[in-house]
Point group: C2
Chain length 383, copies 2
């Protein structure tokens, strides 16, 4: 192997795949980055037991030129750190001895011990794919961020740490719930998919996909196989395992009727909840709607109290008062890009439904109220 590459191109490739490196893996090969130089270009890959990220730099006389094909696995931490500290400009990478990478740049000459690329986990080929989709980056990013906020972080029920992806007819739906919160988002597909899909993707891996989606107008190619899902965004390819198990039926959690509906300004509501939650004992805040005003109140004996009032854009139904976990509500509201929200109260013990007011059909959020006994607070009811 021998190639020339600019520092900026190489560091960009390394930083894209770094999140998939297993830093403390007992399997030494997985703490490394796989570098493969071919006549087509340079492929940089990192992989852990849950996902694999691959970055491809095409052969190009300006930024990268492969002079001799070959491959090696190098220790990710040392490789990243030493490349990062090189001066800007051209770097020559060459394998002169078995499993030793020589890196030359300016007056720096580095020899880095590597590992056998044959031991690195093989890329799943696309021949096993069941379904291929194409989604706009901005839409995919919004939906992942909004839905991932409701995924569980506890391993008690592993399926709940994932995001449920369903592809059916002309809709791609994402949903997650931790039993207290629920978020679901549907994306209309340009054309009807050939086959249906019903899979669970680790929420953390999807969050990594969201971080790749900077070019808002571009599209992500999605490929679903028997045991994996693969996202292709520009030069990056992220492949995630799927979680085994059956995802709970979201439909069963969604109330079919409501008592009161209000419309509020998203930003005013979020900021009021954030302030009320600062002083909230166990993050419990009280929300009361009456006439044209929504009141938020939190109180903790030794610290103090916060009272917030925000105007209601609309109200239909009776006044109500309910207690919720402010932190959970903030998580759901933070990534809302709709200017106004429609909140539906379905009862003291059943979830509050939240929809973007301007986008009725595609997004839905639920949050289960907290049962309070006077000043005291009891546990959340499980959905």
């Amino acid at each position: 192997m021998r190639l020339e590459i600019t520092k900026d191109s190489l560091i960009d490739a390394i930083q894209h795949v770094l999140k998939a490196v297993s830093t403390n893996n007992p399997i030494a090969i997985l703490t490394g980055i796989h570098i493969e130089a071919t006549t087509k270009g340079l492929i940089v890959t990192a992989s852990n037991s849950s996902m694999k990220i691959q970055y491809t730099i095409a052969q190009d006389d300006r930024c990268m030129k492969v002079q001799r094909a070959g491959g090696i696995v190098v220790p990710a931490r040392y490789f990243h750190e030493v490349i990062r500290k090189l001066d800007a400009g051209a770097i020559t990478i060459e394998q002169l001895e078995p499993f030793i990478l020589t890196i030359v740049s300016g007056h720096s000459r580095i020899r880095l011990s590597g590992m056998d690329p044959a031991e690195f986990p093989v890329t799943t080929t696309s021949s096993t794919s069941l379904l291929k989709l194409s989604v706009n980056n901005a839409t995919l990013k919004t939906s992942i961020k909004q839905v991932a906020a409701a995924a569980s972080t506890s391993e008690t029920r592993p399926v709940l740490t994932g995001i449920h992806l369903v592809c059916q007819n002309e809709w791609l739906s994402l949903a997650a719930t931790d039993g207290i919160r629920l978020a679901s988002f549907s994306i209309p597909m340009d054309r009807q998919a050939d086959l249906d899909a019903d899979i669970i993707i680790p929420s953390r891996n999807l969050m990594e996909v969201a971080r790749l989606l900077d070019e808002e107008t571009a599209r992500t190619e999605i490929e679903i196989g028997h045991h994996y899902i693969c996202f292709r965004v520009g030069q990056v390819q992220l492949q995630s395992v799927l979680l085994e198990g059956v995802y709970p039926l979201i439909k069963n959690f969604i109330p079919t009727s409501y008592l009161t509906e209000i419309v509020v300004d998203t930003s005013l509501f979020l900021r009021a909840v954030e302030r009320a939650t600062v002083f909230a004992s166990e993050s419990v805040i009280r929300i009361a709607a009456a006439a044209n005003q929504l009141d938020l109140l939190s109180r903790t004996a030794e610290i103090g109290e916060v009272h917030e009032a925000i105007p209601l854009q609309q109200i239909s139904g009776d006044p109500f008062e309910i207690a919720v976990n402010g932190k959970f509500l903030i998580d759901l509201l933070r990534f809302m890009d709709s200017g106004y929200l429609r909140l539906r109260f379905t009862g003291q013990r059943s979830p509050i439904m939240i929809h973007p007011a301007d986008d009725w059909s595609s997004a839905l959020f639920l949050i289960t109220p907290v049962r309070t006994t006077g000043q005291g607070v009891t546990t959340n009811e499980r959905a």
Copy 2:
């Protein structure tokens, strides 16, 4: 107490004093921020056992107006968090009940439980000061950053965690050593000080002072008392305790002769040391000067090796080779603002002396070599 203030002014004041708040102090009053409204302005103070920071906002119809004098101590964390989350604009702060602060902004109404201001530690008055000085901010900042890098972080010898400040004749000198590194910096004073000073200041507190020195052309007023030193920078006043004990005589560590002297480009040298240190076992790098080239080498059996070469601007004396701790060297070099450095080698077992090449008199750095036995590495020799 009643006052009106803009959110920006108040948050600025809080963030300036926050570093002096004791977050986990068993003395509850020290986890608070003292707020005092007087006819002259608003004084915000935080204090821990080692330092006190005070921020003063003058009475001013635009940003702050005291309508009724008074004082209170509020819990720092909650006060900071809730003010930070308020919308931009005017805030009204008022004490209507004993030890309860009412904060009103827009539609937010907050009641925050406070503590008795009489229990808050008293400010040392300037009547006890022995010495007053005035120093340019940029010079003070540079000298603190360069010297603090050599201070010890271990509590084995508490005086070494401090910076030795000596004011004598027309010089203000700062020095620190952890036994392996030594840094000293002298600042010429505009006029001869009336009295001499010889004190030890906790290095961490001086680093806080350095962070306040953004306005480079302005000056810091320094006041030294029997048991404290006080820095006044713009609206901020930082008062630090002094460390008890006798600082080692720096002069004794400084070699009086040398074998070889070289001049190198500071930035090239720093970057080469940084790269060489990435692979260095126990951070030990070898430095060799010969002809017109300085070679840096580090090697670790399982990882690899780095070889750097940088041109010498000048060399006088014999070629030499020596081993040093790369991390310690980086700490010393990082804040050097001189374009070129003069390095003097005084022997295999005695410190390397480093001077800024363009500023001969005021700054001096020493680093003690590491004794190596072939490939193996032994401990640093103590200065």
